[in-house]
Symmetry: C2
């Protein structure tokens, strides 16, 4: 393991990425503000290239690899979005890419990888299975591995989303009390912690029930592997938090929140119907966590990283149809006015 | 009828609105570009306050009324979004608002009007029914009428969306060949024509099958009323184009396109799944029209006004579920790459 990334790596990644990624909008929505009892600043990274903020870290890492004369290609393992991002980044630099996913990965995401020219290898369902396959393919091909959780450029690149969010909110004259981020292998939450290091903004990580490797690791003071668990949030299923993310978050994270499928499904539909944005369950997990946080710890300004929007269309139809039968009761921003 | 609005009214409205409305993002999406065979610049007015670009015109008009000392309240008739916008604008200025809608108006939109403090009156299903009710309520209340189609401030305000779009695209070093706008009573398309007057950008209006008062009026050289027709696009049902919109478009519109429910439903789903934005059928009609246009008249850069996102959740679930069974075959932006 190399020396971990720092606040300066995030700043440098953000500067470099300015010309290469979309500066996604930060949106507010009266209905969500009313539900939270505070202002929710939504960073719409579902609108990022490849439909996910992971393009930031992948482009930063692949861009550096492509600058090396020995570069022949790249390999990555992923639950989905990191693979889409690496495939798209490799395509931009004219490098071949091999992407290793679990056999039960979301078909929508596999199709997006292939559309970006990526070569998909399916393997077993655990992180260990995928890592073993990556190592075998690396030896065979000589390609460079772009690790999803422990690569300094990847972590720094993901952190650029939070850095942008803070800047965009500051331009509205506001400082965030907290930023809430979904956690899979931990690259994004680690990058977010580094992005706001020393600025007094609390960072909260959100994991699905049963996929809480970060929460358990922080509680026990060492990395804890969890057994694979079913969750709507297919992007948050890694069974073990990365080494750098653990080191970075253990001294910086304000809290690790856990949300269930019901809360995630509601957050998908709330975002869809009120913020008018399509987010995948993993992306909506941050909103679910932020609403849980706001219910217990009132805050004036909460940043929410809506990390991605690559949802399976059939699942989206199903979630919306279910929600129509039992919508969340909204606190109304204003009373009815009598004539 | 007063003298109609001009390019200068749009410019003045846009300047004034800068501090009062959201400068919504302009987005691009590789999948939609590939389908159109050109670059599609999507103006995401579904992310505007009240979920629709009509807040622009309503705020401009109500803001002026509120500045008059005799102002007691406002009245408007609408298929939905203009009423939501007028209610929200009136709430911002502390004025009471009465909104007249057809009895078959979308329940989601009625709920949004009430949430903004508006007083809803339901009446018959034709424009004439609504206009008669507005006149009766005006006499009774003394409130000022904010006409949806023929008010200069409303037309100029709606036009500010296209003006912003042109500016945002210009900052990317690009000039639009065309802008495509959905047409109900014609306020938006008229404002768009004025916004780009003399700039060499072609404006196309899009109407649902059977609701093509603008197309028929332009063909016959006088305003033609159409019988009420069923359409997915509930916001595009006015049966008669406004007088100012007819005068403004007759010398300026490049073409009037007609789209069917199937094309509108596909456009809703394409926008949802690829651009990650929730648009209502009326908003998606512009994309459906733009795809039809691109198929017959190749263009490098087309602006598309995604006017609103206030879709009924049950309808959204239904459209997505149907689409999952029969998706549109996308032209792939890149071939698969073999390892």
């Amino acid at each position: 393991l190399t020396a971990g990334p720092t606040h300066h790596d995030v700043a440098a990644a953000a500067d470099w990425l300015t010309d290469h990624v979309i500066r996604t909008p930060v949106l507010r929505c009266a209905e969500l503000d009313a539900l939270a009892g505070g202002r929710m600043w939504l960073k719409a990274e579902n609108l990022q290239t490849t439909g996910c903020y992971k393009f930031r870290g992948a482009l930063r890492a692949v861009g550096r690899i492509a600058g090396e004369s020995a570069a022949r290609g790249v390999i990555a393992q992923s639950t989905g979005n990191h693979a889409i991002a690496v495939a798209a980044a490799a395509q931009r630099y004219g490098l071949p890419a091999i992407l290793v996913l679990s056999a039960d990965a979301a078909p929508t995401k596999i199709a997006l990888i292939q559309a970006a020219g990526g070569n998909v290898h399916l393997t077993g369902e655990t992180l260990d299975d995928r890592l073993a396959e990556v190592e075998a393919l690396r030896r065979e091909s000589g390609y460079a591995v772009v690790d999803a959780y422990d690569n300094t450029d990847v972590i720094a690149g993901q952190g650029s989303a939070a850095r942008e969010l803070v800047d965009q909110v500051a331009r509205q004259g506001t400082r965030l009390d907290a930023i809430v981020v979904p956690v899979g292998g931990g690259g994004g939450v680690a990058g977010t912690c580094l992005a706001v290091d020393g600025q007094g903004t609390a960072v909260y990580g959100v994991e699905p029930v049963g996929c809480d490797s970060l929460r358990r690791s922080l509680a026990q003071g060492q990395r804890v592997k969890v057994p694979p668990a079913a969750t709507l949030a297919d992007g948050l299923r890694p069974t073990l938090i990365g080494r750098h993310p653990f080191q970075i978050t253990r001294s910086r994270l304000a809290g690790a929140l856990v949300v269930d499928d019901q809360a995630i499904a509601e957050a998908v539909c709330l975002t869809l119907l009120h913020a008018k944005l399509v987010v995948e369950p993993s992306g909506a997990a941050a909103l679910a966590g932020a609403l849980q946080l706001a219910a217990t710890t009132p805050m004036d300004n909460i940043g929410v990283l809506l990390t991605g929007g690559n949802i399976d269309p059939a699942l989206l139809g199903q979630l919306v149809t279910q929600y129509t039968a039992e919508p969340v009761e909204l606190a109304r921003p204003a009373p009815h006015r009598a004539y």
